[in-house]
Symmetry: C2
Subunit: 324 residues, 2 copies
Amino acid sequence: MFLQSQAELALGSRFRALSESLYGIANAAYRATGVELDAHWFPVLRYLQVKGPAGVGEIATAIGQTHSAVSQLASKLQRSGWLNRKSDRGDARRSVLDLSVEGERRLSGMGPIWYAIRRGAAAAVTRSSGALLGALSKLEADIDSGRVQREILAEHARLRVAKPDIKPFRREWREHFYRINAEWLERHWTIEDIDHRVLSQPEKLVLEPGGAIFFALVDGEVIGTCALLQELPGVFELTKMGVETGWRGIGAGRLLIQAIIQEFHKRRGKTLFLESNKRLGPALKLYESAGFVHQPAPRPGSHYQRSDVYMIYEPKATKARKRT
Amino acid sequence: MFLQSQAELALGSRFRALSESLYGIANAAYRATGVELDAHWFPVLRYLQVKGPAGVGEIATAIGQTHSAVSQLASKLQRSGWLNRKSDRGDARRSVLDLSVEGERRLSGMGPIWYAIRRGAAAAVTRSSGALLGALSKLEADIDSGRVQREILAEHARLRVAKPDIKPFRREWREHFYRINAEWLERHWTIEDIDHRVLSQPEKLVLEPGGAIFFALVDGEVIGTCALLQELPGVFELTKMGVETGWRGIGAGRLLIQAIIQEFHKRRGKTLFLESNKRLGPALKLYESAGFVHQPAPRPGSHYQRSDVYMIYEPKATKARKRT
DNA sequence: AGCACTAACGTAAGTGCTTACGGAAATCGT
DNA sequence: ACGATTTCCGTAAGCACTTACGTTAGTGCT
């Protein structure tokens, strides 16, 4: 599921959909058992049944909705004979809702269906995690207190000004190497077989043959990666560079390329090339400005179907010498 | 919170409210950080950003909404320049959505705010219960499979035809003695001091002085209760009778009274009386038909403020003898 | 006592979805 | 090959809320 992959970011959508599902289930149960009740009415009607006559505002805060919602629903329920509405003697602003005799009668036989719904839902909740109800309560309290809100803003203040750090490969970041590259590969092409193998076994197919992998991190979150692959002794390929959409434009790509080049020099490599595709405009710009020079494509013996750009790294020093 | 007291019955409302809260939080975070994005757009925009161009239906199923919702949102986003819409060559029924260059640009800097929201929400979720996300996923799957629906109907089929069982007091049902009586007491009056004491210490104040308590159960759920209280040796009071709203009309009240009377005879009691209130019409009918006869109220030395009905049990046998 | 202020509510309009419906293109069965 | 069915989508209307606003009644301050 796509929404699940977005983790906490799409909770709003998921809760909304869950809400509709649950209303649907309850309504289907009512219909199937011949009960004329809409699940949306339950909070108001049940509140009146349990607590007796109550004002609009009182009900609204109790069930977590606005007074308008309660007022409008009350009008509807009044028309269909569920409840009575009279204005409070004593405080003429208030209008007091009360179950009608007929409404009370209709509700009085709901025990079986309510318990059935409750048991069915409880079973599902238990299967999903025994503590779901408690968790929801705490979450609601947390949100109401404004704490979540404040924390988000605090985090953002830190993340916005954070600069990317470049760090060498660590095992716990392994999955990010796959994830980040899969994102743009799936987007523009498909993941070729060679891609899949390299991405899923980076230690064996990149590091052990004398290569290197770097990650770009922002405040501990991996947001980009790049690999240096040794094809033949002294011949290296810059490959699998990706920065998460959403984190572009803070210089992570440039830093990654610089780290790769530095590593290439450290290993006394002779040739550093890369293959890419014309559709990756911003990346190509980065390569060019880092010292890569276009060559006739495709490279003889290219591994990739999608490759139509071939570049070789020519250090500034070399070019400068040429010009003089 | 009232909704929480309704446990699984009001999950729909709670999820809906949670959904609104989370959208609100996200939107506030966007606004506070100067990002022009509506949290409701996130699923569609993010899907396009990650997966690239996609059809309306594909997006709809991926994000769990209807194609109509996606189509309408797409129109809006198209008008405001976020995305382009063109019909698919190859299949003219499809219309393909794609982020515009401008839309892509706007989204490209969202990393910090998205991660901030994600962290804030994740922290709240962790505080509420580490497993909430997994629990939600399982719950969604369970609902989608139709299992919850089926179980509710099966439960209802059993509960609807179930007859109440009358059982003597057990410690594990203790709280129900309080809960069920509190319901009608709070509803019509307030819980007097003597009520509170008796209800919260039934063993000490009812059973030990030679009384009894019975519960009415339906398929294992306690739905009603009644107490026999020994005031003086041989003088008993029928009191604290209640049947849950929702379970009235299946004869639980009558069975409870019969059980009390039987217990009264078993203990060779001489007098069985009760105090009640005129507002409790249905209950009074039950008392009358069970053999209780009205006496001038209030009873001398009554314990209760609310009492304006006083009845004494006169077995049919006695009345029959009188008539002859 | 008078006057700003607040509280309680109803109404109108907006919103983010849904269901219902219909049209057009693709696919299937024969 | 061609009618029946299915797929894909857009539009319209509905729904369950919301926010915005206005009215009326109570409250607090001087």
